[in-house]
């Protein structure tokens, strides 16, 4: 369960990132975050991994209040929450296998368990043929799939995706969306920020519309019209 309660985020210079956000997302839900650029979508996602801290209000995942976590608990939170970044954030000098394996290594898993799980994940993201490639040898769509693979390989039960289809052509975008939808069907909560109206409309999931840092619309199984 994800809970935002009266969350406000101000950036230096009194720039409002988020303004009194209160929303609850249940386990296993698939939620789209939509809205224009600069509306606060990325801010909302970054609060969930405490890359930034709210100016006021509380952000909770299950019974963890994120702004009160100690520096020891922070890695544990981030293991619960897989993040797919718009710019992928892959380790360029490691192979695809090694990039995905990172989320298992940090959990201290043994090498045979890592191998088994990484191959399992590579199947989910359709990269089983590319395990020894380096990120630079892959297309953007494939790199995004590696990032998704890394986000779900470990113990994450929540997947945050920030414009995962932002840089991709329509066909590849649909592939990525299908993968994320499959991951959601396996029980992972998904929170995905996007501009892509077609994608949002086709899936008929819950949609949170954010404008100027506020949630202006929260609709279940709805279409979103710009």
């Amino acid at each position: 369960m994800i809970l935002f309660n009266g969350v406000e985020k101000k950036y230096p210079g009194e720039v409002t990132g988020l303004d009194s956000i209160s929303v609850r997302i249940e386990d296993g839900e698939f939620v789209f975050l939509v809205g224009p650029s600069g509306a606060g979508k990325t801010t909302l996602l970054k609060l969930l991994i405490r890359e930034i801290i709210p100016t006021s209000g509380t952000v909770c995942i299950d019974d963890w209040e994120i702004n009160k976590l100690s520096s020891r608990q922070l890695p544990l939170l981030r293991r619960k929450v897989g993040f797919v970044f718009q710019d992928f954030k892959l380790l360029m000098d490691r192979t695809i296998f090694e990039n995905i394996a990172v989320s298992l290594e940090i959990l201290g898993k043994g090498s045979s368990e890592i191998k088994e799980r990484v191959y399992e994940v590579m199947k989910i993201v359709h990269l089983e043929e590319k395990s020894n490639y380096f990120p630079k040898q892959l297309s953007f769509g494939e790199q995004q799939r590696v990032a998704i693979g890394r986000a779900i390989a470990g113990s994450a039960r929540i997947l945050l995706a920030d414009e995962p289809t932002g840089n991709l052509d329509p066909k590849t975008s649909w592939e990525i969306l299908k993968i994320i939808n499959d991951i959601n069907k396996l029980g992972t909560t998904v929170l995905m920020a996007t501009h892509n109206v077609d994608i949002v409309n086709s899936l008929k999931k819950r949609v949170l519309v954010i404008e100027k840092g506020k949630i202006v619309k929260d609709t279940k199984k709805s279409k979103y019209a710009k």
Binding site: K89, E105, A151
Partner: protein, 302 residues
């Protein structure tokens, strides 16, 4: 694929930095070992000489046993004497034979007649030595009075100089080494800023991220100390024959004794090498460890 493997990769991918860091530790520890051996050797030599009689009186051949006995009791009566030991011509020959048993040429033609009888004297306090020496020189039938104090004094000043010079040298080198490791590891942390950020975002613990950098520093320390130990050992073994002619007559030099453990510095022995290895290894590991810890706290943000 583990973090330790990545750390090997890191060293392999920046070989010049690795060589620079290892060589600096190697040179520092090598100089440290040389000074330790010199300081240890001179200290042990000092202890050895201080345990020897402080004054040796050689008699002329015409001095008879009675007058020598008379002299001994006179000296003893002053109450300032810690020990006094008469060495006859025959005993002197026995000592000479023992010292030169490996060199038959030196034993030929030597008889008790040509060696002087002597007295070895130690006083309860060194302040009585010069007065005693002066008095003895005035006695009849005395050939020479050898005053050990001069030798000891010279050696004391040498030992102090070696210690001071060594301390200054080693301190400078340690500081330089520390900064080289700090910059070498710091540079790598800066180069891997993105990787560190990604690892933090996916939930790696601080220790998981820092570990490879600490291992790297410690590995430089280990490699540097192993190299310096090998070089010092080779040099020690190479110079042993020269030193043994120089230190002729001295059976062994002990640096310290505690209960059953004694660190003997001469002749070179397994325990000496072991102690040297432990000292160098610990110093290397500690320099590497502290250098990388400082680099992490300086260049890595939490």
């Amino acid at each position: 694929m583990s973090s330790s493997l990545t750390f090997w990769k890191r060293i392999r991918r920046t070989p010049y930095q690795a060589i620079a860091a290892t060589m600096t530790i190697f040179i520092t520890l090598f100089v440290m070992a040389v000074f330790l051996i010199m300081a240890g050797g001179s200290s042990a030599m000092l202890t050895y000489l201080e345990s020897k009689p402080q004054l040796t009186v050689f008699f002329k051949d015409d001095k008879d046993k009675d007058s020598i006995n008379q002299l001994i009791s006179n000296i003893k009566n002053t109450g300032r004497i810690a020990s006094i030991n008469y060495i006859s011509k025959e005993q002197a020959l026995a000592i000479y034979k023992e010292q030169n048993k490996n060199d038959p040429l030196l034993l030929e033609m030597v008889t008790a007649d040509i060696l002087p009888a002597s007295l070895e004297i130690s006083t309860v306090s060194p302040v009585y030595l010069s007065e005693l020496a002066e008095n003895l020189k005035k006695e009849k039938g005395i050939d020479e009075v050898v005053f050990q104090k001069d030798v000891v004094d010279t050696l004391v000043s040498w030992t102090n100089t070696i210690r001071k010079v060594g301390l200054v040298f080693i301190s400078f080198l340690l500081v330089a080494t520390f900064f080289i490791i700090l910059t070498s590891i710091g540079m790598k942390i800066a180069l891997r800023k993105d990787e560190i950020e990604i690892l933090q975002l996916v939930g790696a613990t601080p220790w998981y991220i820092k570990k490879p950098f600490i291992f790297e520093g410690v590995t430089y320390g280990f490699a540097g100390s192993a190299l310096s130990f090998v070089l010092v050992s080779v040099i020690l073994l190479y110079f042993t024959p020269y030193a043994s002619s120089f230190l002729q007559g001295i059976p062994n030099l002990t640096l310290f004794k505690y209960a059953n453990i004694a660190l003997t510095i001469w002749p070179p022995n397994a325990f000496l090498f072991l102690s040297l290895f432990i000292v160098l290894l610990f110093s290397g590991l500690i320099i590497g460890f502290i250098g990388s810890i400082f680099a992490i706290s300086r260049y890595m943000k939490n």
